[in-house]
Symmetry: C2
Subunit: 426 residues, 2 copies
Amino acid sequence: MTDTSVDVCTEVLDACARAKHASRALATATRATKDAALHSMADALVAQAHTILDANSRDVERERAGGMSEGLLDRLTLTEERIHGIAAALRELASLHDPVGVVRTGSTLANGIRLIQKAVPMGVVGMIYEARPNVTVDAAGLALKSGNAAVLRGGSAAAQSNEVIVQVLQSALVSAGLPADAVQSIDAYGREGARVLMNARGLVDVLVPRGGHSLIQAVVTESTVPAIETGEGNCHVYLDASAPLERAVEIVVNSKTHRIGVCNAAETLLVHKDAAARVLPAVLAALAERGVTLHTDDAAAAHAPSDAVVVPATEEDWAQEYLSLDIAVRVVDSIEEAIEHVRRYSTGHTEAIVTEDLAAADTFIAGLDTAAVMVNASTRFTDGGEFGLGAEIGISTQKLHARGPMGLAELTTTTWVAYGDGHVRP
Amino acid sequence: MTDTSVDVCTEVLDACARAKHASRALATATRATKDAALHSMADALVAQAHTILDANSRDVERERAGGMSEGLLDRLTLTEERIHGIAAALRELASLHDPVGVVRTGSTLANGIRLIQKAVPMGVVGMIYEARPNVTVDAAGLALKSGNAAVLRGGSAAAQSNEVIVQVLQSALVSAGLPADAVQSIDAYGREGARVLMNARGLVDVLVPRGGHSLIQAVVTESTVPAIETGEGNCHVYLDASAPLERAVEIVVNSKTHRIGVCNAAETLLVHKDAAARVLPAVLAALAERGVTLHTDDAAAAHAPSDAVVVPATEEDWAQEYLSLDIAVRVVDSIEEAIEHVRRYSTGHTEAIVTEDLAAADTFIAGLDTAAVMVNASTRFTDGGEFGLGAEIGISTQKLHARGPMGLAELTTTTWVAYGDGHVRP
């Protein structure tokens, strides 16, 4: 921290220490108290929508003048309708089971000690994310429901929106009898503040970055606080030799075009050579019809419709998470070659196989090293809501602690409690 | 890696890449193959005991000449008996269930998708540890049983022992049909090699440090590979107002003196003021009788027997993991004061309460933030073997991924597998 000013360092660490202190009240808060606070937060956001929208429009105008792209401006912009949606998500959170206190495992040991392992809050959750003010509320709500305090660092472009939102949430917390310090923003301290947060080991228990590649990589490689890598998805769909035509078309189209800017959208299509002539013409035509640009190898190009936009695929295409109406297409000689391709280029998020062959499905599952494998289903199903987790703080692409969609349970850790009767080790 | 020589960097990364490649064979190896390899490793260690002991005696002689302490020399030294013990531990591992393939959860979603979350190997496990050649075998065995490749970096003092041991293990692996690269040592590359290992993100999936405070802190703060903090234990025993005398004596004595050099030994004794006059004389006498030096506050000192070695406790005493015949003793005004003390000084390993009061037990459990709480039992029970995990790679004092004793299951991650029938997102 030699290049961080003393003031920023002191103030951010002080915020983290206050969060740590507040986390104790949250850890023992009943579900009733936490849910009442979530409803109170939702009510307050709606009641103060005008003030929030004022602050937000100042952020939006400043960033528009500064040349922010339309896509990013859209993510930054709040509307009355969006605020109602955000509030509804908090009420939805309140309806979920409390993840704290869940007994994960337990047994009576041979010596009579009764042992249980139960879920307890992490303590303080740090979030570093981009300029999306909805994430501020989302993260605060998920942290609260799981009994954690939250220290939030949003993108500077949303600083005024976030400041007002956090004030509104803090008042609601206090009115529900919980400490205001349970939700804090450190946006005012800029990038320096984010660096201090990333190194507040001992005060912050886990860091969840949410955003693009460079933000996530910076957090996971530079933090001394344990961090969870989320969200990059170079997802593949593999059409096996036995892939039925109609199913192949539906799953590829859904995986690629259902929503293009999300991490569980497909970016590469692999096709077994024995299926290429049978399925690729219809699959590529369906993609082209929806405006998808095809980045193909030579074998696949031969099956593209004449009116499709076809570009020769380069090494970069295989590795790219387009998040756009683009797909890389390659014909492979075997399922093993498909697996090798995926292992080389995948970000470990989601891969799908379309097949009627049981052995092929098993080979595909066993050969990969990824958070989720879809057999005859769209890659778009890798999602906390779809998996029934209720809420989602992100999708982990790392192996430690959580892999795949992370819900409330993933924001808890565990404590072993052993009940003895004067037991000592012989 | 600017201060790391290019050769070391290339060679260590090459070793990690070969481990990654070998991990694929391990991930799909059957339990029968892995267990046969464990038995083959055990047989080979016993058969080659002479060669191993030769190398070990060279390590020991060199280090003795270099002034290594007797305690460390003892940890470094192998004997024929110890080699038999190490081999027996491998056979014991073979008798445990396979942690790979265990289905953690699963359900049929509303849309008919059948979802399962199953345990899969991490891939490559890195171990950084001190000069204890038994850990080399231990780590290799645990990694193998859980389907992982291992890259090992032991203390340089054991380099010759480790080199021979790894050669023996590799031959055994090959004879069982598994790749030699599944177990590799990078001792030859010294501290530089360890630094490369700590930053081999993408090749190494998890790093487990085992050793003293400075080694563990260096690994967890300097690694970009996700690491698990293990083993520091400033454990507390709290005697509540209602603590029965005999039980208090037994649990304190066992927690402190059963084995003094281990992380689950007690280091501080806290006593409620209402119990001090009743229980402390006998508890302190029992400790003094076993040669324990008492580092006390004034209130506790008043109850020490006249022949005890009593030293006034300083701030350092409360924070210290003695790992010796020393204990810090403090009288507290209330259970809340005990909880505050523990929260301030604990390393988050194990805390025990001795009480007959149900509400006090609940308050103690809820107020702490630690891997394990013992109610009326010795701190010594926090142990993978005691908890029935079978084997133990370490005791995690962090909150991410694993907390408390880590067995084979903690060396796995999970994959979600979704079986659909042509499912697409509507």
